[in-house]
Amino acid sequence: MTMANSEQVGYIDRISGPVVQASNMLGSKLYDVARVGEEKLVGEIIKLTEDLATIQVYESTDGLTPGEPVYLTNAPLSVELGPGLIRQIFDGIQRPLPVIREISGDFIERGIEIPGLDHKKLWDFAPSVKVGDKVLGGDILGEIPETPTVDFKLLVPPKINGKIEFIAQRGDYNIDDTAATLVTPSGDKVDLQFYHKWPVRQPRPYHSRLPSNIPLITGQRIFDTFAPIAKGGTGAIPGGFGTGKTVSQHQLAKWSDAKIVVYVGCGERGNEMTDVLQEFPRLVDPYTGGPLMDRTILIANTSNMPVAAREASVYTGITLAEFFRDMGYDVAMMADSTSRWAEAMREISGRLEEMPGEESFPAYLASRIAQYYERAGRVLTIGTKQREASITVVGAVSPPGGDFSEPVTQNTLRIVKVFWALSKELASRRHFPAIDYLLSYTLYWSALEDYYSQNVNPEFPELRTQSLALLQKDKELQDIVALVGPDALPPSEKIILETARMLKEDFLQQNAFHESDSFCSLEKQYLMLKTILRFYEKAKDLHRRGTNVADIFESDLVIRIARMKYIEKSEVETSLNELMKEIDGLTPQNFEVEDK
């Protein structure tokens, strides 16, 4: 028997939904890509039994017939890593959707074979090494200004090192041109192009892990103040439908202070991806001033696209994220929704007739989820000059019936360190973002506290603790109010209720669709929190001096506090300091005058 080569052909034995069994497949390897049928549909080998291979097919299998050929590629599912990824929208296996549209029109036909990157486009390359330099895998050979805000760094692929014998001079190249030639220590010559391929299921190597002690600023008050995520951290947003998972994910993709954002729409609505595609080019990145699209990569495998490609899409996404991490960038990746990814695994597993685990998810669900989130992290990259870089991963989870005890939510919570719990009750009160402020948690706070003290204000951690305590107390009091009505509470507790209401309505509620409120800087968050707590102290003081509690919270200043969130960036400091000064100046006499 000859060794496997690309001409070798197996034959389809059986077709059952997205799963195809083929015989005469001796020599194929697990997770290699196979091209199935006359139309050469893309598939991946997921099980081998002697000469039988089970293949999950990334396109619709309608019309396939037993006996049709199966071609081996002898390569695992890989993505092309090079310039031209940013601003693009890909399907789950890195085929650019706009190019598919040019070929097959408004509807996605199958059997379309196109590369992930544009191989004709010319890029302006400037080398940063010279002939004779010794380079390691991960070293930068030169730069290409890919978008006005992101410089693409051409890297020596991992596991390759040597001495530079040739390096392309400043000029325009397409990605197939030779960028450099290395002579390896064993004397072989290796030509490097402007891109390389990498298998999506294999994590890209890094030098070492760094502690997660820098927050990923999101501009969302509930996240940044109460449950911050670290750069390189992992977080989950579980919530039933209509609680705002997607809006939260969009907000993170819009306003996170990451250099690159990879957004994976995994088995979700087509119109949501369209929304991102139409909105992001118009939105301005608060950190660079350029369009948000200039740092964004989209991967869209909507719910009605083939289920196996949905399974692959999160791996495609994280591999692209790792590639930009290796350039030294902070990357944020959003996956919406990881439940759909888990369900894709369940569907394939069911077709393989595997023994089911909990709720018929496969028994390996937990380990797959863990492996995926472990690809996040803040690291030192490989290469001679190690760079600090990170991948932050936030996954949305869609629990059936909004029940957090289901397997995907539970297995995710075992791994991730930030839990942003969406609440149906808050959503039905139109409290958005509908994140349950008491149920949500972050395990990064102790690592991040110093950052907040040093970079925002030394008082910040104290204000946060105090607010959380008020919200907790409020919850206890609300239970009493529900039984006996608010009148039964003593005035001091009514102050707590009113202050907690201000925290909830005027601080935690944030309008994603309001220009000045959609993004809130840390400085503004600090001042808003401080203003509310200042008013709380003042209210206690006024009450001690005999003012009626109801009158205190009828004050015009309360209305101005409610409008704090809409204050424009440039005026925040002056107007909030002014407001606090007025709060400090309140005396019982103010209220007596009003009575007249």
Binding site: G17, P66, F107, M305, V307, R429
Partner: protein, 480 residues
């Protein structure tokens, strides 16, 4: 193989098993049968039925029989494979016609002459070809137009239950739906899955009474029709919808009722195949299967037509966490919740806005499309009604003595909201301006609007509040 042999190889008299909706055919290693291929089954009495290949290997094909398996047997039943997937002939002539659940004409008008023959499975719309839906559809129903705006290209299901008037509501929407300021071609495609003959007649009579019947295509799979056929019916309907929308620029409204019956058929097939069940016995791929129906709604760049879907679901025991509404809610762009408690109060349409949602509303409403106060009025009505209902619960426990004056007004508002705003006649077609103004009239019961109406900016209150309106402004205009 000669053509003759090949032809013969596609006809089998080797049925080995008939079980539930499935039929197993031994192919003896000779049949080149494709996945998803259609089969024609001839019973011993000569009756012909259709089925589709669900699983195929060289030796065995599993066929789901759309028209039932009763009368099939393992000796003389003949199965002929047709060499193509399920297709339907479509043409503009279909408007005004009635078909059964597998696409055969049942109104006595004879077969249509197809303009095109299309695959019913459909292919996914390329997300980069989609156009984000932004065009307001006025349904004439205050609750929907004001709080749950329907948008062209949206999929907005009715979550309902037994004994609720969801059919009337759907018929009223179909009758009254229009886009402000345009006279464009519209069509309604009605796909019935497992509803009763009475319900089907209700829709037909309603379309007829309003003279809309020649703009309607009906696909009827009724309760006594074969259950597995239901898996086909919505796909036929949506294939016709796509043809009318994208080739003839129609704005198509597709009503799918009842998706719960559809899901039950899906479960029946899965159970017959001994698949590992997911929640409540429904198959694990139900989400993916639903999405191939719901995601066929939408708009496409550079195409004039659109497909708007109103699927109707009857929630078993009014339970919104049941897998059918749950998975639907994750795909559709919101939901309209038809509420049993409001229905008991005698309100029509008994839509409870609190658990309802329209996701596409935010980008649709406002100046130029509806009116600049729309968003704020909507938020305010919603918030006050939610508070009002909470207060009702509180009053039930502690009585109304402890309530503040404002709280008492809010209670009054909640009653008014149900009686004046939610409640309207089955034939009452309110403009969006009328609906918004009813909203303002109710909001005008508060003495201190600037303090109570927190969701409305002061300048909007000053312009639109009933006590502050000037005579010069035309409030029935999208431009203000």
């Amino acid at each position: 193989m000669t053509i003759k042999e090949r032809y013969e190889a596609r006809e089998f008299q080797t049925v080995t098993e008939v079980s539930g909706p499935l039929m197993f055919v031994n192919l003896r290693g000779m049949g080149e049968v494709s996945y998803g291929e259609m089969a024609e089954i001839t019973t011993t009495s000569g009756e012909r039925r259709r089925g589709q290949v669900l699983d195929v290997s060289k030796d065995l094909a599993i066929i789901q029989c759309f028209e039932g398996t009763s009368g099939l047997e393992t000796k003389d039943t003949i199965c002929r494979f047709l060499g193509e997937t399920m297709k339907i002939g479509v043409s503009k002539e279909m408007l005004g016609r009635v078909f059964n659940g597998r696409g055969e004409s049942i109104d006595g008008g004879g077969d249509i002459i197809p303009d095109k023959i299309l695959d019913v499975a459909g292919t996914p719309i390329n997300p980069s070809a989609r156009q984000y839906p932004k065009e307001f559809i006025e349904t004439g129903i205050s609750t929907i137009d004001t709080l749950l705006t329907l948008v062209r290209g949206q999929k907005l299901p009715l979550f309902s239950g037994s004994g609720l008037p969801h059919n009337m509501l759907a018929a009223q929407i179909a009758r009254q739906a229009k886009v402000l300021g345009t006279e464009e071609e519209f069509a309604v495609i009605f796909s019935a899955m497992g509803i009763t003959a009475d319900e089907a007649r209700f829709f037909r009579d309603d379309f007829e009474a309003t003279g809309a019947l020649d703009k309607v295509v009906l696909f009827l799979n009724l309760a006594d029709d074969p259950a597995i056929e239901r898996l086909l019916t919505p796909r036929l309907a949506l294939t016709v919808a796509e043809y009318l929308a994208y080739e003839h620029n129609y704005h198509v409204l597709v009503i799918l009722t009842d998706m719960t019956a559809y899901a039950e058929s899906l479960r029946e097939v899965a159970a017959a195949r001994s698949e590992v069940p997911s929640r409540r016995g429904y198959p694990g791929y139900m989400y993916s299967d639903f999405s191939t129906i719901y995601e066929r709604a939408g708009r496409i760049h550079d195409k004039k037509g659109s497909i708007t879907q109103i699927p109707i679901l009857t929630l078993p025991n009014y339970d919104i966490t049941h897998p059918v509404p749950d998975l639907t809610g994750y795909i559709t762009e919101g939901q309209v919740y038809v509420d049993v408690a409001l229905n008991r109060k005698g309100l029509y349409p008994p839509i409870n806005p609190l658990p309802s949602l329209s996701r596409l509303m935010k980008d649709t409403i406002g100046q130029g499309s509806t009116r600049s106060d729309h968003k704020f009025v909507s938020d305010q009505l919603y918030a006050l009604y939610a508070t009002g209902r909470d207060l009702r619960d509180l009053v039930a426990v502690v009585g109304d003595e402890s309530l503040s004056e404002t709280d008492k007004k809010i209670l009054e508002f909640a009653d008014l909201f149900e009686q004046r705003f939610i409640n309207q006649d089955y034939h009452e077609d309110r403009t969006i301006f009328e609906s918004l103004d009813i909203g303002w009239e109710m909001l005008s019961i508060f003495d201190d609007p600037h303090r109570v109406l927190k969701r409305i900016p002061s300048e909007i209150i000053d312009k639109f509040h009933m006590d502050k309106r000037d005579d010069k402004t035309d409030f029935n205009s999208v431009d203000i």
